[in-house]
């Protein structure tokens, strides 16, 4: 499971930043979740966020997806400021980002194919046929070519999650956000989803931000691991180093409990 992918790693020469968090603060009421957070993700980089429950990992992804508003500070995406934009420009900016949710959040009122084609047709203005073709390719990629005309409620959790990944990819985002995409799945189904993600990581240059508890997966695909606690990054580095010789005691404790 720990096969590395040297081919991809050497081919990437990250020049520009995809995501910048600049002194970002996020508070709910008087509870500070993110406390002057700083970090960068380069284009094409694969970053995994780890940390104890409640440390704000999901919050980071939700801020990026503009599902929440920052309290202070600035988020930049592809060099453009991203926070505090009016709704219309936000919608344009958001197109670069795709997100896959822990609970899949497929639209139960649409068949699998329509789930995938909906946004390309409505947002990118693709024709139905074009969108369907693209969707079928993606379903092929995630191994569900035969499920195009099924309702999502008829699929297993693992299958639903793979459709959700295809749906996010259909928008051809530059940046893909993944929030514990396997933690709602039965243990046996986890592997299929991780395999799909690994394939995508290998086949494309997409920037990935993953929150996960699957340390094997983190080790496997990520260029860098960020450890969060108390609303800040307390440690970061390539997975090999982080998992073998964590510097902080908190990181050590955390990895001890999870690994």
């Amino acid at each position: 499971m720990l096969t590395d992918n040297p081919a991809r790693k050497t081919s990437v020469s990250p020049v520009s930043t995809a995501v910048t968090f600049d002194q970002v603060v996020k508070r709910y009421g008087d509870h500070t979740v993110l406390d002057h957070l700083d970090f960068e993700v380069r284009q094409g980089e694969r970053v995994t966020l780890i940390g104890p429950s409640g440390s704000g990992k999901t919050t980071i992804l939700r801020l990026l997806m503009t599902l929440e508003r920052v309290t202070e500070g600035v988020i930049q995406v592809n060099g453009q400021p991203f926070s505090g934009l009016p709704e219309k420009q936000l919608r344009r900016a958001r197109r670069h980002i795709g997100m896959v949710f822990q609970q899949f959040n497929l639209f139960p009122n649409m068949k699998v194919l329509d789930n995938i084609t909906e946004a390309p047709v409505q947002v990118l203005g693709l024709s139905r046929d074009e969108a369907a073709e693209r969707a079928r390719d993606l379903l092929d990629l995630v191994g569900l070519a035969d499920k195009a005309d099924v309702h999502p409620t008829r699929l297993s959790g693992g299958q639903q999650q793979r459709v959700a990944i295809a749906r996010a990819l259909a928008m051809r985002p530059d940046i893909l956000l993944l929030d514990e995409v396997t933690s709602a799945l039965d243990p046996e189904l986890v592997q299929g989803v991780l395999d799909v993600l690994r394939d995508i990581a290998q086949a494309t240059d997409i920037t990935m931000l993953c929150v996960t508890h699957e340390m094997g997966f983190a080790r496997d695909i990520s260029d860098r691991v960020l450890m969060f606690d108390g609303g800040r990054v307390i440690e970061s580095g390539p997975p090999e180093r982080m998992f073998s010789e964590p510097e902080h005691e908190r990181t050590r404790d955390f990895l001890g409990a999870v690994l």
């Binding site: 639209f107 009122n109 909906e118 946004a119 947002v123 749906r167």
Partner: protein, 211 residues
Amino acid sequence: MWDWHTAREGLPLILHGFGITLLATALGSLVAIVLGLVIAVLGRAPTRWVRLPLRAVVEFVRSTPVMIQLFAVWVLAPGLDPLTIGIVVLGLHYAMYTSEVYRAGIDAVPRGQWEAAVALSLPPIRTWWGVVLPQAVRKVIPALGNYVISMFKETPFLSVITVNEMVHEANQFGSDNFAYMEAFTIAAAIFLIASYPTSMLMRKLEKRLAH
């Protein structure tokens, strides 16, 4: 005490009134179902300059008798045909109830669905029309049915504005022939016969949509 002959005599008259009752209910329901949805959606408007006045209107209309509302419009808008007024006012009044029903249905659409729509950059119209409403409306159809039935039974108020609906006809027939018992029993039976299939249908729907 019960006179079959009188009952038979009254039936055609009362049935004629029933036609009007049915028409008023059907069109009134349509108004209530559509307008209720509009109100529920506007109730989620981002600015409170829409939300608060709307809330006040809903609360006021819901809290005051439909009879007075009917009468007021009838007197203030003499150009309008009474049946039209009846349909619009009844529909409007019930839209306040149905808007609450829709609101509950919309609230019950999981947050994740909204967020998925945002993550896919779907425009608001599409989010409502393609994602949220299909799910919300499904859930509330049985509850809406209840209000259709209850509107059906509030059509007697239309007689206040000279619409000769069923209960009015029953009343008229009853007083003309002093056969109140027959007249009202017939009316009750017609109500029951008409609303029972509706409520059966609603149960079926409820079961079908529940899973």
